[in-house]
């Protein structure tokens, strides 16, 4: 019998595209698991579900899972999902801001909140490679992703950090342009892949169902491969968002580029060096000590 797995995700997330493929194409049953998909409207809701064992596996920022682990919650990262290829800093097309360097002294808004992995990445990139931390001068604001395009249009903020699908939608509208993709810049400057979204589980589930966890990851990898070959799976999703053909293609391109398929100690070491950088820009208490057992490669195919 297939082991049932409850998979938690953010409701609008693009991981959902691959998760759906996994279920539709029955890649889960192929590896002995039976996946049900549960969507939460906010990251906090999702994290509550993961910590509260409402779901067995869940997606989220690896920093959050590492942080929870260090606070004593028995959760840990088991696979890489999104490298951050869709994290772009956007500005209105007619803005005179051309690159990240021009952001100094400008008002920047992040969708991810003060503790979000994406926000931390923005601050690390800007302070390590451009010499300023927007949070220091109070130039960094936070607002819900849906609000950010409007805020930029109104001129309330000069630039905004967005992720897909809203980022792709904004770019497709022709009203905004990207002045930098954070993950690419990070890789260019450090040689390391960034990790934005990871897959996590809790100790109990992993201990009781190690096979199922490995099985899920195998199915997931196949699903991602399938998505890469069949970009048409973005059609439905894109239409629901009101994107046209070009927009859907753009979205598919960006998301496919974002999916990670490797997970090994080297990757994890790279994350640890990001943690070192993050500690320097963030306040005390952020990723202060990342326990080794916050990561596991035991289930990697």
């Amino acid at each position: 019998e297939d082991t049932p797995i409850r998979l938690g995700d953010m409701a609008q997330s693009l991981n959902g595209v691959a998760s759906q493929v996994m279920i539709d194409q029955e890649f889960d049953h192929k590896y002995g698991v039976d996946v049900t998909h549960k969507a939460y409207p906010t990251l906090d809701g999702l994290f509550n579900a993961i910590r509260g064992k409402q779901v067995d596996l869940g997606f989220g920022g690896w920093t959050s899972f590492a942080q929870f682990r260090s606070q004593g919650f028995p959760v840990f990262n088991i696979f890489a999902v999104g490298r951050g290829a869709t994290l772009d800093v956007l500005v209105p097309v007619d803005s005179d801001i051309q690159s990240l360097a021009d952001l100094k002294g400008k008002r920047v808004v992040s969708y991810a909140g003060a503790a979000g992995t994406a926000t931390v990445l923005l601050r690390v990139v800007l302070s390590d490679f451009y010499g300023f931390d927007p949070a220091e001068g109070g130039d960094l604001q936070y607002a819900g992703p849906g609000l950010i395009p409007t805020l930029m249009k109104n001129g309330d903020v000069d630039a905004g950090l967005l992720f897909d699908p809203i980022g792709a939608k904004a770019l497709a509208s022709g009203e905004f342009r990207s002045i930098g993709n954070l993950a690419e810049i990070y890789k260019e400057k450090t040689g390391d892949d960034f990790l934005w979204i990871a897959l996590a589980t809790n100790d109990d589930f992993a201990a009781e169902n190690p096979e199922a966890v490995s099985g899920f990851i195998k199915g997931w990898v196949e699903a991602v491969a399938y998505v890469k070959q069949h970009p048409e799976v973005f059609e439905d999703y894109g239409k629901k968002l009101g994107l046209d053909e070009d927009g859907i293609k753009l979205l598919a391109d960006r998301v496919i580029r974002d999916y990670a398929t490797t997970w090994n100690q080297e990757y994890i070491d790279g994350l640890m060096s990001f943690a070192d950088r993050a500690r320097k820009v963030m306040d005390k208490g952020y990723l202060e000590d990342v326990p080794d057992d916050a990561f596991s490669t035991d289930y990697t195919p």
Partner: protein, 240 residues
């Protein structure tokens, strides 16, 4: 009602469709949602939480408030508690309810009820202090037991405060339900609201808001106003 609709229509011209869709568009979206079917399950889930939370909040708030009003000692001891309970953010109630009771309906209702109870207790507390003490004396002389006095003399006098608590309590409870649904429930109107907000889809945000507004208007206009008319029919009208 019509004025409210017109105001909305007017405002919607000031904003682009994506920011503030007009009433017509919103009603269309709402109708589509209805056609798609799962509106009812979200609505009943939320209504269950709202009503459960409200009942719990009243069940705690009214006795505590009344006790504080009639008993000096209770007032002194409970005052600090009520203010603390009022200050603890709904977030904390939600977290602890979910941790303690689990991620389920009971926890949601407990969190909602506990967050709203202090406001209701405060209102009743103030209400009791404002009542006509001569009527108490009358009841005492006519041999009414403490319980009879509370039920027949105190209660009718604080009823306006209870009605007010019921009304604004409904509003507070609903607001907290939204928060609780987004922290730990996989369905409900608040869930949908936040879901679409994250997607930047204001049409859906407004459609769900509209849905719940209609429900609340129904509660107010059909249930509460009739209740009130019946209860306070004896009261002479206030005119300045």
């Amino acid at each position: 009602m019509i004025a409210a609709l017109l105001a909305w229509l007017g405002l919607s011209f000031l904003f682009p469709e994506t920011v503030l869709p007009g009433p017509w568009r919103t009603i269309q979206v709402l109708a589509e949602n209805f056609a798609n079917g799962d509106i009812l399950s979200h609505l009943t889930a939320t209504l269950g939480r709202v009503l459960g939370g409200l009942v719990l909040a009243m069940a705690i708030g009214i006795p505590v408030g009344v006790l504080m009003g009639v008993n000096r000692l209770a007032e002194k001891t409970l005052d600090v508690w009520v203010m603390v309970a009022l200050t603890v953010p709904s977030l904390c109630y939600a977290i602890f309810a979910f941790i303690w009771i689990g991620l389920n309906e009971t926890a949601a209702i407990v969190a909602i009820g506990l967050t709203s109870a202090p406001s209701i207790a405060i209102n009743l507390w103030e209400g009791v202090k404002n009542i006509d003490t001569r009527l108490f004396q009358m009841a005492r002389v006519f041999n009414a037991s403490r319980w009879v006095i509370i039920r027949r003399v105190l209660f009718p006098q604080v009823l306006p405060y209870i009605m007010a608590s019921l009304r604004f309590g409904l509003g507070i409870v609903w607001k907290i339900t939204v928060l609780v649904e987004l922290l730990g429930r996989p369905d409900g109107v608040g869930f949908e609201l936040f879901y679409w907000y994250q997607l930047g889809n204001m049409q859906q945000v407004l459609a769900w808001t509209l849905l719940f507004t209609l429900v609340m208007l129904f509660i107010e206009l059909v249930i509460l106003q009739n209740l009130e008319r019946r209860m306070f029919s004896w009261r002479p009208e206030v005119r300045i």
